[in-house]
Amino acid sequence: MSACDACLRRSHLIAFLAARVAAVLAEPRPRPSAILGLPELEFIEAVAGGRKDAAERFIEDFDADVARNMAERAGIGELCAHDPLYPERLGDLYDPPAVLYHTGSAARLAQITELPAVTIVGARRASSAGVAMAHELGRGATTAGITVVSGLALGIDGAAHRGALDAAGAPLAVLAGGADIPYPRNHVRLYEQVRERGAVVSELPPGVRPFRWSFPARNRIMAALGRVTLVVEARDRSGSLITADFATQLNRGLAVVPGPATSPFADGCLKLLRDGAASVIRGVADLVDDVYDGEARPEGWDPSGRAYVLEQLSDFDRTVLDAVEEGQHAGAIAREHAVGAGRVRAALARLEMAGLIVPDGRGAYQPSPAR
């Protein structure tokens, strides 16, 4: 459960030459070409330029144990492609990361990556509707036993992670920098939660800051980890479309949440639809169908996640739900429990939003027929 010396050296070499990689990869839209998949010497040849000598010295002087100690101090584990726990799906890449650095134990990571996974990506500057949708899909997929993979970015990524956490799931975050560095900084708390309850992985050694090229490079890992890549909102020329490209190249499923043709938020998603590359996701059920793709879903899963939803209710909301199911009206509930009628109304709205009750069109509520 570790990484062999050669693989470690390779990944540190990439980190060592990261600034050169940035220079070599064409601006303004750097895409990791075959470069990252090259053998060490060819890699040096391709990118090192004036730092060739330094790079060669680096390889000669590289001490794998020092690297291992450093990672251990940062609380980061490593898995190389030769380790049986290395996620199998990354093998589909022609330039798989030599080493996958991860938080938590390798066994825990294996648990997470063995589950069917969906990669949820989208705009950092997303609409509030998009954020809510990503949250709901992240939550719903998790209740169906699907691992949510995303990039911890602002907007859609973060919302998908939060949804997964809200469903008591173990989301997987793939970072463009070292797995020990919370990025973006605004998501420090989210990073900690994902790290604690799921896992954070990266192909770069701990302590390495993300480079511009490492984001699209990271995207290929995300695309490889998911059975399906789902784009929730993407503007034209969004980085999410790079992930979508990778997913298609890797023969993974591609899905999008559609939006109105007039919305700039939906532009990229609609383009994917128009290209005939993606399927449409209307909600959790669609997503779960796509991820399981004909396979049997886990037993006992209900797309509504009623058991889970019930678990999340506060005691008071639960009481109100019971009362509605007994046919009591809002006023009587307030009276019986000696609370303000406003609080009962608020609880009713929460229960409605959770899909447990529906308005009866008469100013009151009744239990949802679907449940």
Binding site: G331, A334, A341, G342, A346, A349, E352, G361, R362, G363
Partner: protein, 502 residues
Amino acid sequence: MVSRVATFAIEGVEGREVTVEVDVRSGLPVFTIVGLPDAAVREARERVRAAVLNSGLEFPMRRLTANLAPADIRKAGPGFDLALAVALLGSSGQLPGVDLDEWAFCGELALEGYLRPVRGIVAMAAGARRSGRRRIVVPTENAAEAAVIEGIEVYGLHRLRDIGALLAGELGVSPAVPAVPAQVDRSYGPDLAEVRGQEDARRALELAAAGGHNLLMFGPPGSGKTMLARRLPGILPPPSLEEALEITRIHSVAGKSDGTLARRRPFRAPHHTVSASGLIGGGSTPRPGEVTLAHRGVLFCDELAEFSRPSIEALRQPLEDKRVEIVRGQQSLTFPASVMFVAASNPCPCGRSLAKCECTETDVRRYQRRLSGPLLDRLDLVCQVQPPSDAPGEGGESSEVVAARVAAAREWQTQRLSGSAAMCNADMDVRETRRHAALDPAAARRLAEAVVAGAISERGHDRVLRVARTIADLDGRDAICDEDVDEALAYRILPPSMAVAA
């Protein structure tokens, strides 16, 4: 010789100055009135003649021409009698040494020379003050009513015989003072303490009052919808002086004034058979309708679904614009109509509770569709009223307690909305709503979720924001939290297409 006298015509609910000119010259004894008089004004000739003669005054047997200026507005009703008589007396030299320019005159004459009260005296007195008159003579019965207008001396006149003495200051009467309201005791009227149970409706009523929101109550017949609605004016803040004058003036025009300044907000509950013009005003000489009579108060439409389609449609514009515009031929009138609109309805044709309802889904849909359309867009809150059998024995909080909370919430709104046309949360336009109803992050997420779930439309979104604002105001909080948004969501009105029929 020509003399000129000021009087006032009622146009909508405003007093519009009319100058009465009477010319006396030699010729055959005829009395002509020109200047768009209606039948009642033309008949004034006979009343004035008889009244002048019966008062022991002289009616000149010469050629008399009276003109009512401006000549392009239609003059209606008997209110010009007194002014005609005074102008006639003036032009025939029977009122020597009186400066008629300082005075205004309004009143109907009886044949014996007594004055009869007229409608709209408050508006006339207000008009007289506005046009700079210092004194107004009105029938004695109207004097106290007219006196609610400050800044003008009101003299009550009992009989025409005394006009000369009055104008010369020899009658020895002092200006009228406003009547003291008959009952100063409970300014609140029916009290919420008398309502048993109905916690949900009470809360909705309080929110409606606190934010000026329009309210829809669902409940079977006899469940107390009217009873609840009647208690709404009592928990609203009492009218300001300015509002009280508006209310009084309108009621005076409608002939419903008791001669005192209105202390309470009006409550109007037209029957569902009311015609469109009965609701919004109309007639060949347009009179204010129910929505204007309820100005600054509550308009309650019980059994909203039973109202005729044209009536409901007619309400739309007044509720939107807070005034009624009536166009009749060449004239266009505006009546004020700033009301809180409260509607009540059976949920379905049979009116029974959901469990016992025997209506088919189609029946319910058809029934509720009658409520639908643009009117529903004006309703911010929906609540449920339970049959009294479901309500336990004890009464709830008194109107006074609730009114205090409402007043505090309104106070916040007044401060927040100073400088805006909006007076309460319900009046806020889109821009103000976004600015003043800032949500904390959890609340914003809740609302976004509701949009995603399709629970609210774009329009409904702002309505939920306004109601959430009111909920926070009632709680004395500046920030709107997720609990507020939840509650506001639960009162939202569903268009029938979105409602799940039983």
